[in-house]
Amino acid sequence: MSPEPMGFFTDTTVCIGCKACEVACKEWNQLPATNGGRTLMSGLSYDNTVRLDGINWRHVKFIEQFSEDRSSGRWLMMSDVCKHCVQAGCLEVCPTGAIIRTEFDTVVIQSDVCNGCRLCLAACPFGVIDINPASNTAQKCTLCYDRLQAGLEPACAQACPTDSIQFGPVSRLKQQAQARLDQLRALGETRARLYGADESMLGGLNAFYLLVDEPEVYGLPRDPKLPSRRLLAGSVFSLAGAVIMGLIAWITLRRRRVEEEHA
């Protein structure tokens, strides 16, 4: 019997921006601190790593919302990660079969199969994947596949001191998320919303979020889509172009022959 789909529910309202998740992820997955020898510290707010990539599989985003005179405002913090989409764009396009869906319904890149074409980087609706300079292959969060197989929870979820990152069966996480949303709404936080918790977004995100502002504020797409949405129309237009150019060549060559026979 295969196990239940497993995932993350990240409740951004209790994130304190400590980055314990980033550190735990790096330690467990042996991810380098520098990118091919280059140390990249952004100096952007508290955000030193700027994005998810091949060596940063957890990324804490810091959003400063303050009025001009700083008399009112708030900090938003969000630990971002691969969404482990039920309909995953990276898995859809991967031409080597390196990207697989595991028995935990998570999405994993097999580093020994990937040849670094980087199509998944462009296909991911969230910009999660990049090349890891240690392996020279595309890498991202595996939802700690090795730990899951051993019955452990992912390193980031275990390290999170406020339980902003919760790990478990997706069905249970969804109930917890709904309860938390109801609680926040009852307390008057009308901006609270779930992101990716239902099937309308890419069949559901197995790593989903509770946000307190528009998705764009967190650098997230409002309506992420699968790469294949353009496959049919793009192919049909190209095919039509081929037919038209072929016909033009055929007709003009035929006419040329007829004209010559007359002359």
Binding site: Y218, R230, S235, F237
Partner: protein, 305 residues
């Protein structure tokens, strides 16, 4: 803001832009060569053979560029054979997966056609190979060559659209634009190389130039529709990349050759319209590949070029 702005670039650079250009020329030239072989006359044979050579050279260069671009080039064969099972690797819904087989098939057919052409042009040498360029064998390679040539010309644009990147995935027309550009640049390459190598009849030259003009006019029309229907993603082209597209691709690469073909001012007599077409076709790939990749998210902010 379009959802494509929240994604990350794949770091495709000069190798890929050059491959799109070279693959387009090779595909376009093989299509033209095949159609001339099927429906042309004896006077067209030099260009038929030239098209075979361009197709083969382009296929070899394409394979080299694509392999060199991988971050693990020694695993290039993982696109064709599943590395863990040894079974064939093919995802019909992934343009890159189909494309890997397309490039391979194109290369094989182009090699057969080129071998036939060498034998055809050097009487006495390997006369059995010349049969590749005659009768049913020629019909088969020409049919396969035109299908694979059109595929190579267009799938690269469809591949870009089947991602989530700005510009690429914001339109269904990238494949068509690339296909038409490949048709015009394939014809232009045959015109230039034909002039250089000599032996091309005025009859063929005239037809090639006319085919090229038709492709350019269609390309211009589709490019305008592409830009007009981009919506908010057009913001990417507001700066320098838009200037390159308007001045370099459309101005110098499409409009100028169309005008020069009709009436060449004495001052510009040395400028070859075919060379302009090739330059414009290369710049088109450069703009599409590079402009889209300069969009990225830093922290939570979308950064545009």
């Amino acid at each position: 803001m379009p959802e494509t702005f929240f994604t990350a670039p794949p770091h495709w650079g000069w190798y890929i832009a050059t491959y799109f250009f070279v693959g387009g020329i090779a595909g376009g030239a093989f299509v033209i060569s095949s159609l001339l072989a099927l429906f042309g006359r004896a006077e067209d044979r030099p260009v038929v053979r030239l098209g075979h050579y361009v197709a083969l050279a382009g296929a070899l260069l394409s394979g080299a560029l694509l392999t060199a671009d991988l971050t693990r080039p020694e695993r290039f064969w993982h696109m064709l054979v599943q590395s863990k099972t040894g079974l064939p690797m093919l995802k019909p819904w992934s343009p890159m997966s189909v494309g890997a087989w397309g490039v391979l098939g194109f290369g094989v057919v182009a090699a057969l056609a080129a071998a036939g052409s060498i034998a055809e042009s050097r009487p006495g040498l390997w006369q059995r190979l010349a049969r590749l360029n005659r009768g049913p064998m020629q019909a088969a390679t020409a049919l396969a060559g035109s299908l694979l040539g059109f595929f190579l010309a267009g799938y690269t644009g469809v591949l870009l659209s089947v991602t989530n990147r700005p510009l690429w995935a914001d339109s269904d027309l990238v494949g068509l634009v690339f296909l038409l550009s490949a048709a015009s640049s394939g014809a232009a390459a045959l015109l230039l190389l034909g002039d250089w190598s000599g032996g091309v009849s005025e009859l063929t030259r005239h037809w090639l130039a006319r085919f090229d003009r038709t492709a350019l006019m269609l390309e211009l029309a589709v490019l305008v529709i592409f830009l007009a229907t981009l919506g908010p993603a057009l913001a990417i082209l507001r700066g320098a990349w838009g200037a390159v597209l308007l001045g370099g691709v459309i101005g110098a690469g499409i409009v100028a050759p169309l005008v020069l073909e009709r009436r060449t001012p004495a001052l510009l007599a040395s400028v070859s319209p075919a060379a302009l077409v090739l330059a414009g076709s290369f710049l088109l790939r450069v703009v599409i590949v590079f402009a889209a990749q300069q969009v990225h998210v830093a922290g939570t902010e979308v950064v545009l070029p």
